[in-house]
Symmetry: D2
């Protein structure tokens, strides 16, 4: 008699749940990672899963999450492009859908110790469904105190151990990036070895010639990539093409110590080829077409806050919805094309153009002709701006700390 | 009989002022730009200057402005490292000092049409000194309506024309960067030609091997750079060493359309080798040693606002002083070293370490041992964080828009 | 032969423009101020205006501007409810409409010295129409150097002087408030005399009993006011009813020194009866129905920025449009009613309720029953939140500055 | 044999701890609340406490917390002056000191279900001391499931029940305010009865004449209060005098629904007489003496963030220390006096003056004389500000949505 039906992201805890008496529906999201799908299914069924459900989420991942990140130039702590954080909501939502479809009463995941992003998404997407997080159950932790216990359990239950013992770090792979952390990387002064990176060639091994291409945007969303070797317009294909360009030329490696939601610092390495390129191009186009004040408000408030929402697992939240409404509104004129180049680890902008906006004017920009205002206007502008500064300078003199010391 | 004594940054308007009847003290700041100092002095005196004063401001430029920019990771519109903006306050303040020293009644500058940053600084540093801005005087503009008028005036007055006719753009050079704008660059889709860049070699011409070195920081300020070819600890020498590294490996080129203070967009190209490297290293060290909430407050408010202050010529202002007090306070623990590498246009972090902070702990970071809190604590953390999200999810269901659509 | 047709807000400069040779279309906006409309028209025509156009803008003023201010709890520098700033865009836009309708080539206004808000709105609403601002024309200022010159000019040209000589300050009146500034108020320590205030009775003269009423909101907009003496649902009528309640009970007086856009400080007194009440009620309802994080983002970014936009005359701007999109989105659930009371100068909330939101739950709020989470969850929440704080405490001990000093 | 020594804030759980086998040192902070100190001590010893320690914390409460709140105009969600939040850090720190002094191994508190602020402070102040929170222990909660269980336990153990059964809400009292919540107040539409308020007379019962007085500030801190009935300069005395003024005239009542840290909404009523008055006066003085840009940065970032820190129990945190450094810096010129009046529930500013700042100038403020800049300068200022707006207006015309619709 089953204790109930659980929807589980495939992992080593499947067998444990089966042994505990649960009926398990395994779920695996295809977010573009490398995977032998047939083998995964075969293994899950062999270990006792009632069913294995694999869903291709690449399109919703790219269109709902990745493109939104591009539209707001999302970044966490100036460096991290949120590759893992962007995938979590899509996966969690799909898992809830599958759980509902197959009448599961429980959701479960194999994240060790944390899984904050998954569970926050579960609770928002279906507040009435219960969560089993074995790695936070005292009885489970008691049983599996280290890797040795896990290997023992695997051996006893004929569970093939998939993680090859060679990689002394953990990895998480999806269409956007691969992340590397833990193991030898826990020493923040340990340089990642050359063989760590999987999504980018080493810059020293990249081609000796720059590679040029063009990205077209419509309302802040990439809609076409044109290269000397062909073009792409479909969202997923286009993003994969950017990934390939970035991969081949070693673009998008980041190695940081970041601040986790729970208050700890953690070292992470990420290679994020396509999104690195797309973000740079988008940022550049906004320079040409976005009003300066709107940009400043968007940068300081929306971009920062949206990025933190995502990082902290707060995608399914009122504040993310609120921010996203602003993002989309801000992009109405972000239409145009950016000519790019990649070369041995770096991406460059070669030029940009747009028909959608009147904000940049070659005539205004010229020093030799100023039609919209006269140089004399600047005199007045300066005089007014200086009112406060003169008072400040006089106060400083009075205080015995003249600014022209 | 002189109309009065003017302190002027050396420029083509010297002769005009002399002809107008002013006594002119020429001032030239050495902020690290390339210049034939003796020739400048000779020319100024030949054109009728009463005196030529050249001041080496490199140290105050680096220590008061550039290091502050590094401490707060200053950046404007995500791309521009403020090379010109950082030099302006130092130059303007020195010019006011010189004007005071030589009993000038006027300050003047040769900036065409704008000069906002200079004048705002003049007015704060000495509110009682008057400013002559010829390029905003109707009578001057009337006389000099285009480059042809200028060349004619130069020829008539035996003024050697220094700008070689070959560079179809204008440049501004200092220890931090060289900027390129106007001319052919006014077309934002016109790729800067290879020969434009003066402070960095072309990445394709850079050495074929990465070059590794280490930057040491004390309270957020770079205090030592160690390379295979020697080290530097003096502020100016150290910064020049970073410039050389960046130059040789083609690091720090940026090409953008930016939003000027006065509301116009403008295309600018900048090569900023040393500051690009120093900023990246500093940012990285902060990941290791700075508290996450302090960092977020500093990033969102202080960095953004300080960068805007500088860009808008508001260095000598109450708000800059207010922000700078926060910057310095935030850097008390930003002490440690960052190992870096440069290769063909890009800079990379290889590792970082610090004895000054307890915030990163290899033990905490490890997934296998969590001493400061238990996995069960995370359960409670998630439950509390989810309170709002569950209500949101329920409301969405009630509204007929379930999140697990 | 006319120099051209000017659309002018009615003022003493009408005659001057006529004498200068312009054809003048006078425009007067009815934004709810006290005015003898027939007398104004008669006077304008007598002074030589080609035509007098009076437009009732009360509805667009209330619905487009005032209600938006209520929706975001707009306030400037913690005190000023922006009564003047809210009216300016409505007036300026209507004046441009009238100017276009009657084929005027110029817009003019009688604001002394400033008029920044009007002109910024003119330039946005019709960039091709020219502006005549006599108070900033050297020839005009030369002629009218003080009040005496104005009176003399009035006498010479048979201009009836409308401002009674008794009020030693200037006033600006509309449906939202009356402002008082200049004259004796320029001494910031001079208490406004009792007779200054025109829109509120003195609190000491207000009724001796509290007066209770209810305001209903729909999506953040007041849609019904119910009082013991009747109710109102029409936007303008409803706002006038709130004004009457506030007036009778002395609610909404503010006396401040504020920071003007141009960098000067200025002392202003304002009585703003209805908006003070409506803002308090709206703020209170948001406490009940708005998500905490959305509120915080709205408060810190949208409210502050929108209020500054309005104050600085930037209503017709990309950033205001961007912010307003956020305001409206944030108000989707701000539906409910607030029971209020006014008494001798102050307004109080008596209670609030809403069917639109599930965020407040009497069960959750109770200390005796907690269903959505357990007290044990709080333990985990605290433990996780404390991770950073413990490190901080330990660092302080190490630094010799223990927090439990 | 004792299980160990516990330092407990006095409460009904004392007996339970004793019965559980702990040695208990009782601690009671005097933060200005009403209390029969001798009776509390007698009761604690009678119930088995080893010792009763009472500490007068009023001075550090006022000088370290309350004055800091005044300096930054602290407020939470536009309404709540943080009366409870301000006291918590002072109490928690003193309890840790006492625990250290008497060699306790545990800290305990009697907060039901929550106590987040206390525990976060405990953990920062002494990370190595353990916390016993009975109301979050399953065994304790099991035993005391409702008020009836508590009363039964009290009866069985001869614990005199102090809370009179008449007040159907809970209260928390200190020098700053009294808070009222829970019970009948859980219905947010239930108006607090007249007898609820303990720190202010009902406005309808307040004197029929306004009462005038003056508050002097030095660097943002109140240093003297002068009234017709005497003056005070000592920090605690001065604050008590403000409390008395506010009390007698019914100033400082607030009734709100607020957002708690843990994500729930909660209804609270607060009467905060002295702080309400002091905050208004301080805010007003800043209008006169603080630079506008510094004020805006302080308002938008420092005030909001400091208030949230305090509300969320994050006083002992790196970010609070960081923010406080800014607060103090911002107050260097906030020196002067504010003349105030109170009358039947409301406080008013009558005037303000300062010798410390040159920012307000009666001459500048006058419309008739403008020395620092000319009206013509405003023309230039407007022209430059309008550059963006004109482009916006033109774009709107092009888009078929002219602004002058």
């Amino acid at each position: 008699m089953s204790k109930g039906r659980v929807c589980l992201d495939t992992s080593t805890i499947l067998k444990w749940l089966v042994l505990e008496g649960y009926t398990v529906v395994c779920f695996l999201a295809n977010c573009g990672q490398e995977e032998d799908w047939a083998a995964v299914e075969k293994k899950a069924l062999a270990l006792g899963a009632e069913r294995m459900v694999i869903e291709d989420l690449q399109r919703e991942f790219v269109e709902e999450l990745v493109f939104r990140a591009i539209q707001c130039n999302a970044i966490y702590e100036d460096r991290y492009l949120l590759g893992t954080s962007l995938a979590r909501p899509v996966i969690a939502r799909a898992q809830v859908r599958v759980a509902q479809q197959y009448n599961c009463e429980y959701l479960s995941h194999g994240c060790t110790g944390k899984g904050v992003r998954f569970e926050l998404a579960f609770k928002a997407c279906n507040p009435s469904m219960k969560v089993i997080a074995p790695w936070r159950l005292p009885e489970f932790i008691q049983k599996f105190q280290g890797r040795a216990d896990l290997l023992k359990f695997a051996a006893e239950n004929n569970i093939p151990v998939s993680s090859t013992p060679k990689a002394p770090w953990s990895m998480d792979d999806n269409l956007v990036h691969c992340s590397y952390e833990a193991g030898v990387l826990e020493d923040p002064d340990h340089t990642p070895p050359k063989e760590l990176w999987t999504r980018t060639v080493d810059p020293t091994d990249a081609p000796d010639k720059p590679y040029n291409f063009t990205i077209h945007f419509d309302k802040g969303i990439p809609v076409k990539v044109v290269t000397p070797d062909g073009e792409a317009t479909d969202s997923v294909e286009l993003f994969k093409l950017l990934n390939k360009i970035g991969h081949d030329h070693g673009v998008g490696r980041v190695d940081i110590v970041e601040n986790r939601f729970i208050g700890l610092k953690s070292r992470g390495c990420y290679d994020t080829p396509g999104l690195t390129i797309a973000r740079l191009a988008h940022l550049d186009l906004e320079g040409l077409v976005m009003d300066s004040k709107v940009r400043r408000l968007r940068d300081q408030f929306v971009t920062v806050e949206w990025s933190h929402c995502l990082y902290n697992g707060m995608y399914f939240s009122p504040e993310r919805e609120f921010l996203e409404n602003s993002i989309i509104f801000s992009q109405r004129n972000v239409t145009g094309q950016v000519r790019m180049s990649v070369y041995k680890g770096a991406a460059y902008v070669l030029g940009r153009s747009s028909d959608a906006s009147n904000l940049y004017s070659q005539e205004d920009a010229s020093m030799d002709s100023l039609d919209t205002f006269s140089p004399m206007d600047t005199t007045g502008f300066i005089a007014i701006q200086a009112i406060r500064l003169e008072k400040y300078g006089l106060q400083k003199i009075k205080d015995g700390e003249p600014l022209s010391k």
